[in-house]
Amino acid sequence: MSLSDGDMATIWLTLRLATTVTVLLLIFATPLAWWLARTTSWFKGPLSAIVALPLVLPPTVLGFYLLLAMGPNGVIGHFTQALGLGTLPFTFWGLVVASMVYSMPFVVQPIQNAIEAIGNRPLEAAATLGAGPIDRFFTVVLPLAKPGFMTATILGFAHTVGEFGIVLMIGGSIPGETRVVSVQIYDHVEALEYAQAHSLSGIMIVFSFLVLLMLYTFQRKRKAVGMTYGR
């Protein structure tokens, strides 16, 4: 296998993107999943539907609307410009925001399932023992829902690595900034550079297989709550 410097740069960028997105998603998705798991509000249905939308929408549709929304005349664009950040398309952070939307259900849903599976009892028990809400979260929920968090982390990371349509729409293929592996492979194929495309695709296949193998081995070992996602 021969990888050019350009190919290597796309690999690093992809890993950087996926790591950033996963960390940020875990921070944002956890309270959301917590709320969805515990609430009895009428708003649970609509919000769950919004979170799950990226599962259904073609990435190009999502990407197109994000391009419009994040552009200078869009809602998000107005907001970021007001903050003095400029507009998001064609930037690394633009990809981060878009990937967070795209990978959201893959992180929220496993965590939500895991929290739902814990039920009220352990939390009530902890409360009677005098644990406050924050204490309960860190000493009861987090350990019990750990498998759910593991699944969320792996799926969120892997799904961001495999993202293509949205990046294509809002990225602009800038080396070192928005040109990720999937776009590079597409470029190679379109340019009829099949040998280079094979090398990178081969790496992607091996990577994806290892990630999924890790996920399912982990699930077999621990038939625990929240671990059946993706089956």
Binding site: G74, G172, E190, A191, L192
Partner: protein, 262 residues
């Protein structure tokens, strides 16, 4: 009951859609989709054959045709893919010709923005410059040539954003994310929203500034017996067809052979 009826109707219509008996399967580069639809409408008026169109990128079509995709004709966005297919021995001899020549334009969604374009590019008074990826799209390669001729590569390179194709490049500009973009003239003429065009501004790049963006068509090997495909190719040479092609912002070819100059 009502639902059942509808379901039955949908099933029925799914099975009675035009069958392949007299149809010609044509793969068309997406930049040519609008003129092609007009061409087909015109052709089908006078012919018994039905033209089934598939739009996509030429690179993808090349890969699919190599793997035996059932197309009879391939209208590429460039000459490279028909060239490669010819070398692969998948093309009928002497079938290839240039059906259209693309024109490049610099476009901005903002009024008057594309006036005095050279000065603006030189000064860098714009946020982003959108262009089609030169590696993939012939319009991108031509853009590079123009920028090189104007000695503007170094001055503008840090502001480039690349669309994977000319349609995406257009999107970057129309959504306002890039102030300027090198796009196909056909995209400006083929648009429905004439109003928006008046709001924007464009500069037609003189065609002496870059090599002609020739788009070639080939008759594929599997189409040897397909009379409809040949009829459609003949139709492409008629004045009627040429007028349609010109109307959409392309120069129509008037020579039979791609090797000849236009």
């Amino acid at each position: 009951m009502k639902i059942k009826k509808w379901f039955g109707f949908i099933l029925l219509s799914a099975f009675t859609l035009p069958t392949g008996a007299k149809s010609v399967h044509v793969a068309v580069a997406s930049n040519f989709s609008k003129p092609m639809q007009s061409l087909v409408t015109e052709f089908e008026k006078a012919s018994d054959y039905h033209i089934a169109l598939s739009f996509g990128s030429s690179g993808k079509f090349y890969a699919q045709i190599k793997q035996g995709a059932p197309y009879e004709l391939f209208f590429s966005a460039d000459q490279a893919k028909p060239d490669a297919l010819q070398k692969d021995g998948l093309v009928m001899a002497n079938s290839r010709f240039t059906y259209a020549v693309g024109r490049l334009a610099v476009w901005s969604a903002r009024p008057d923005f594309a006036n005095k374009i050279e000065t603006r590019l030189k000064k860098g008074s714009f946020n982003k410059l959108a262009l089609a990826n030169p590696k993939l799209a012939p319009y991108g390669a031509a853009t590079l040539e123009v920028l090189r001729n104007l000695e503007l590569i170094d001055a503008t390179q840090s502001k480039w954003v690349r669309g994977e194709n000319i349609a995406q490049t257009y999107q970057f500009v129309s959504s306002g994310n890039a102030d300027l973009g090198f796009i196909a003239l056909s995209q400006l003429l083929g648009r429905n929203k004439v109003k928006k065009m008046k709001e924007g501004s464009y500069w037609l790049v003189p065609d002496i500034m870059h090599q002609a963006i020739k788009q070639d068509v080939v008759l594929l090997l599997g189409a040897a017996q397909n009379q409809g495909a040949k009829e459609f190719l003949d139709f492409m040479h008629t004045d009627k067809a040429r007028n349609i092609i010109a109307k959409y912002g392309y120069l129509a070819s008037n020579s039979m052979n791609a090797e000849q100059d236009i």
